[in-house]
Symmetry: C2
Subunit: 328 residues, 2 copies
């Protein structure tokens, strides 16, 4: 048994199908196996290489060729494909779904997706969208692992009039595979994720692009001296391009709104630099430290210096009374 | 003996003084001890708490009360204080330096510092500025560790007419404590670091500030859902406020120039989102992946997913033939 995941005495579901066993989908399957979430696990993918790999990795009990076959008889179908492809998958499986089946997804954008998906589903089938806020910069069936969702949050955004029982079952699914569950509207979700995930990705992609295009500084210099901060951005800017293209196209309004605020604040900061307003800089740089402390306290981050990358001993705040003091 | 550091048969220097035993200074002292860099290690700090802690941690053989005392008889004095305080320390020690002594520093900005420091030094004393591109988000004497510089780059920016022998000795110092050495002009250094370190820090500080000030999204939501990308920025935005204030005030021109380019590119990206130009987004997001691969290949970064934060198994690219393929 893997640390932090508990095996159920009896499975929560008969048949669970995951469409798209990539980073997120294969992690759900791996965690479902560990926890005995379902009697039978099914997966499929439009890409035959991915299906072959799913078989080799033994990610599911059955790996049919199409998502429509995978959906037959399933109690829950979780669609784990880029946001722009969700509606296509729903259209493909709609005819195979049994009455009472629950369809869910893991997309990083919610409002637009719900609008597209709801009209495609037959009556008597429930749609309960979810978004696990977890991931790494890798993609594909080999990138998943069973503890990806442990102590992370899965946000469920039930549409108006959603069936309470179906919502509760999707909440149990996420709790079983290690996640905490939070409920909010699709619109609020898209705003929260715009600032905590989408805009950070956008500016990371952007600065890596800016650095690559400079004529005064060579690419080899950028790479060599990346330990000064740049390399942390390259991790985020190595995320799956298809997934992220779809996120920005489908959460346009919220991303542009949050980006506008980011730009206003950045302009004020540039002005403080130009006019040498050291107090304004110092005030911001002090305030931002506190937020990281909260993230670490809430278990959403490691306190290891440099993410533990350096081999440094963990910081013991008790032993470091002058840690926050500038040295001169 | 610590992995990766070699102990010298005979010390390179008689007496080495480090002014300011914070993250960088105390790491130099720890690595110097391990490698037998000097017969005698000396340190001092303007803050009595830091001096007391340096004694408790046994960072040096002598911990005098003033930097002037620490400099007496030193072959090398390394000034490890925020950029804005370097000239003050140089003025304090100028009268104590013996003929032939080498003064160095570790500041993240070079050109402006050289201009201020050179006129303060007596004839017969050498100034060889250096900047180790290494660090973590922690500060103070407890935050340092002996392998901080291992396989990192230290950039030496010799002023016009610098003594070759003195430059070579500072290069040997950094190589002894594990760093690779690169030479460039102070002006070029400031441009390279503006894009690889200063602007990344600025936008990280900025987005953390923007997120903290939103009225539609609560601070607790920002913290809870930070695993979507935001938390990586908070690490950088937790760096020492005094150090970073001084960096921006002293590298104004290069930072504003690079920030201008970043803003132009970001405006183009925002436009691509507004006009739903998915191809432009996909092209950038694919290009930025390659840069990260190069950084990992050159040993400046770990390939562990999520910085190894998740407990995931390391990715084996041979075993993951479909890793780069979107799942649908």
């Amino acid at each position: 048994m893997i640390d932090g995941l508990k095996r159920l005495d009896a499975p929560l579901f008969g048949r669970v199908a995951v469409i798209g066993p990539g980073l997120i989908g294969s992690s759900i399957l791996r965690a479902a196996r560990e926890t005995h979430l379902a009697e039978t696990l099914v997966t499929s993918d439009a890409n035959p290489d991915v299906r072959r790999r799913a078989l080799e990795l033994d990610l599911a009990d059955e790996v049919p060729e199409t998502s429509a076959e995978a959906a037959i008889g399933a109690d829950v179908v979780i669609i784990c494909v880029p946001v722009g492809a969700i509606a296509t998958v729903v259209a493909d499986i709609a005819g195979s779904l049994k009455p009472g089946a629950i369809v869910s997804d893991v997309g990083s954008v919610k409002a637009g997706v719900v609008d597209k998906v709801l009209p495609l589903l037959p009556a008597g089938v429930h749609f309960v969208p979810a978004h696990p806020v977890a991931g790494t910069e890798y993609s594909g069936p080999d990138a998943g692992f069973p503890t990806l969702f442990l102590n992370r949050w899965s946000i469920i955004t039930p549409p108006d009039g959603a069936d309470d029982e179906a919502v509760a079952r999707i909440a149990s699914l996420w709790e079983t595979i290690g996640a905490n569950v939070e409920f909010m509207t699709a619109t609020h979700h898209d705003l929260v994720l715009a600032i905590t995930s989408h805009v950070p990705h956008l500016i990371a992609y952007n600065i890596v692009g800016t650095a690559a295009d400079l004529e005064q500084v060579t690419q080899s210099e950028v790479i060599k001296f990346s330990a000064g901060g740049f390399r942390d951005f390259t991790r985020i800017a190595a995320s799956d391009p298809t997934m992220w293209r779809d996120v920005f196209l489908n959460n346009k309004e919220a991303v542009l709104e949050m980006l506008g605020r980011f730009n206003e604040d950045l302009a004020a900061l540039a002005r403080a630099i130009r006019w040498e307003d050291g107090d304004k800089l110092f005030e911001l740089f002090t305030r931002t430290r506190a937020i990281r402390r909260n993230i670490i306290e809430l278990g959403q981050e490691t306190s290891a210096p440099d993410f533990g990358r350096t081999g440094a001993a963990p910081i013991n705040p008790e032993a470091a009374p002058v840690q926050e003091t500038a040295s001169v």
